[in-house]
């Protein structure tokens, strides 16, 4: 259930906008932060708030890298598989992360903690190989650094929201 205050805040933002459709991505981000991902309930809320059909919203929710239409873990790794990062570790750091965590791209670890998503060039090529951990840049990755990052995520008591 969407809390009434969040619903009101979003409805107000939409009503203030000159073109309410410009707010769609912001609304979807807010609902995603609340529910953890864009579950069916979140999609229905969005449709109601924005006065759009589910189909119109579905084609956006499934299009973007940072909107998650399926459940994700507490921590999200957007792992760069751009050509520069590939060069710094052939067959990619993405491949390494997947094998290390025992998942395929797009999947979440069995404990529900970490989701690995492929990302086209994160814009940190001078510090390749790189990835975004909950939206923050990590560059110059080595197997040791990756180990440390994962340990830190496992130890983190915070229930990290999806990145944005």
């Amino acid at each position: 259930m969407l809390p009434e205050d969040l619903r009101e805040t979003l409805a107000r933002e939409i009503s203030l906008a000159e073109h309410p459709k410009e707010k769609i991505v912001d609304v979807l981000y807010a609902l995603q932060s609340h529910y953890g991902y864009l579950c069916d309930e979140a999609m229905r809320d969005a449709a109601e708030l924005l006065g759009m059909t589910l189909l119109e919203l579905e084609q956006l929710a499934t299009f973007y890298d940072f909107l998650y239409r399926r459940p994700v873990g507490r921590h999200i790794l957007h792992v760069c598989d751009g050509v520069v990062c590939w060069m710094f570790h052939q067959y990619s750091i993405l491949d390494h992360m997947c094998r290390k965590l025992g998942v395929e791209p797009g999947q979440t670890t069995a404990d529900g903690l970490i989701t690995v998503l492929p990302s086209g060039c994160v814009g940190n090529c001078h510090q390749a190989p790189a990835m975004l951990v909950n939206g923050r840049f990590y560059g110059g990755l080595t197997p040791e650094k990756i180990e440390a990052i994962i340990d830190e995520l496992r130890a983190s008591p915070d229930d990290m929201g999806p990145c944005r």
Binding site: H96, G123, L141
Partner: protein, 455 residues
């Protein structure tokens, strides 16, 4: 041009972080705006930009002044400026460096562009990976508004313009101007075929200017120092201004460097970026991101400028140089980029949606030693089919492939003749297949033996 070049766009780059408004103003910031609003007519500003030969820095290189001249004059309804910070071209990070170093230079450039075309609304379109820059821009836009550089009646001139930060949810195609307009309007971000000419009919059906932030950041300099000054910054006769070049790959100092437009490729890679890492030798580079063709070592002395690269059949793109050394398999690199573009294709039109995965499969077979001679003409034919795609995404996607075919066909043939990758690359095992354990090599040395199966 005997005086040493001093940076224009990155003159305020500091280790300490972004430049605040006070410091920007104390180094001559917003002076161009003060000297322009109500002192020059919008038409004069446009003429200066045309005279300065400012070309778009986002990849296409279209003359900015000509684009802006096609915006209808007058104030009959809203017009929009979209400063494009959706930078997702592999190898490119210049816009992030620019925005993060000098946000007010970008804001001043946007306001000047808005004045030239008499637009009143701006949406700063930014990718989610750059969230910290989105927050920075939101903060600095607020500060600029407080100081009277944005909002109603800017500096008492009667000109109104406001800028808001529009966050994207991240997808490569959103950097394409017509796709960006769809994205902002809450539609699926497909590019629109051949227009509508956005300068006349863009966002919400209104005149819209989409320009890369680096292009817009050139405006304060042009308006303050004149078109002649801007043209004289370049080293080549037909070039103008300075350029943010990015260098990545196995070089000593990868990074973003501002140099005169037309700086020789050799100076950028071997001067600014410190040359190749020890034990590596230059084999090729992509001169302007992953949507440009491989440029072999014999062209190292080319001037990094639109016309000079066009003269040898190449493109400047974003000016982001991705360097490859002799140990890197260019078939594997092309496969990586084709896979990237196949995933990032919006899927709207058939040549791109169906063609790129098909090309990827052929390349995968060649890379894994199952290639056949007839694949080479097949790849050429498939690459040509991309000319039938809706937007230029597909043609950019096959640029590295065409470069591979034109300059490194021997390498392709060697893969086919040896029935394996001469660089020892092993295409990753299908997901789920167990791999032998072993050492992993990261960092500047690509692991060449065993590769992913060792992980």
């Amino acid at each position: 041009m005997s005086t040493p070049f001093s940076p224009v766009l990155l003159r305020n780059r500091r280790d300490s972080g972004p430049l605040c408004l006070e410091d920007y103003c104390s180094t001559g910031g917003y002076e161009a705006l003060k000297a322009t609003l109500n002192k020059r007519s919008p038409g004069d500003v446009l003429e200066m930009v045309v005279e300065a030969n400012l070309r778009g820095r986002g990849g296409a290189g279209f003359p900015a002044g000509r684009k802006w001249q096609s915006v209808p004059k007058g104030r009959g309804g809203p017009k929009y400026i979209l400063p494009n910070t959706d930078e997702m071209e592999p190898g490119t990070f210049k816009d992030r460096i620019l925005v993060g170093a000098d946000p007010h230079l970008v804001i001043e450039g946007v306001v000047l562009c808005a004045y030239a075309v008499q637009a009143n609304h701006g949406l700063f379109f930014i990718r989610p990976s750059y969230e910290m820059d989105a927050e920075l821009m939101e903060k600095e836009v607020g500060i600029a508004r407080q100081a009277g550089y944005l909002g109603k009646n800017i500096l008492g001139s009667g000109f109104d313009f406001d800028l808001v930060v529009h966050r994207s949810a991240g997808r490569y195609i959103c950097g394409e101007a017509s796709a960006q307009i769809n994205a902002i309007a809450g539609n699926r971000p497909n590019p629109q075929k051949g227009g509508p000419r956005m300068a006349v009919q863009g966002l919400w059906g209104r005149p819209t200017v989409v320009n890369n932030v680096e292009t817009l950041a050139c405006l304060p300099g042009i308006l303050q120092n004149g078109a002649r000054w801007f043209k004289d910054l370049a080293l080549t006769p037909t070039g103008s201004g300075s350029k943010l070049y990015c260098v990545s790959g196995p070089v000593v100092r990868p990074g973003c460097f501002e140099l005169p437009m037309g700086a020789p490729l050799r100076d950028i890679v071997f001067g600014q970026a410190g040359g190749m890492l020890p034990g590596r030798s230059f084999k090729a580079c992509l001169p302007g991101g992953a949507s440009t063709a491989f440029l072999p070592a014999r062209h190292l002395d080319v001037a990094m400028d639109f016309d000079a690269l066009a003269a040898i059949g190449h493109r400047l793109g974003t000016g982001s140089i991705i360097v490859f050394d002799e140990d890197i398999c260019l078939v594997g690199a092309t496969l990586n980029m084709i896979n990237f573009f196949a995933r990032e294709s919006c899927g709207w039109c058939t040549p791109c949606r169906e063609g790129l995965p098909y090309i990827g499969e052929i390349l995968r077979q060649i890379e894994s030693g199952q290639g056949r001679e007839e694949y080479i003409p097949l790849l050429r034919r498939m690459a040509r089919n991309m000319d039938y795609a809706y937007c230029s995404f597909a043609q950019g996607a096959v640029a590295p492939l065409l470069g591979l075919l034109d300059s490194f066909e021997d390498e392709l043939r060697e893969h086919i003749a040896r029935r394996s990758c001469p660089f020892g690359a092993v295409v990753p095992a299908p997901p789920g297949k167990t791999c032998a354990t072993g050492p992993v090599t990261f960092g500047p040395t690509p692991c060449r033996e065993g590769l992913s199966c060792r992980i």
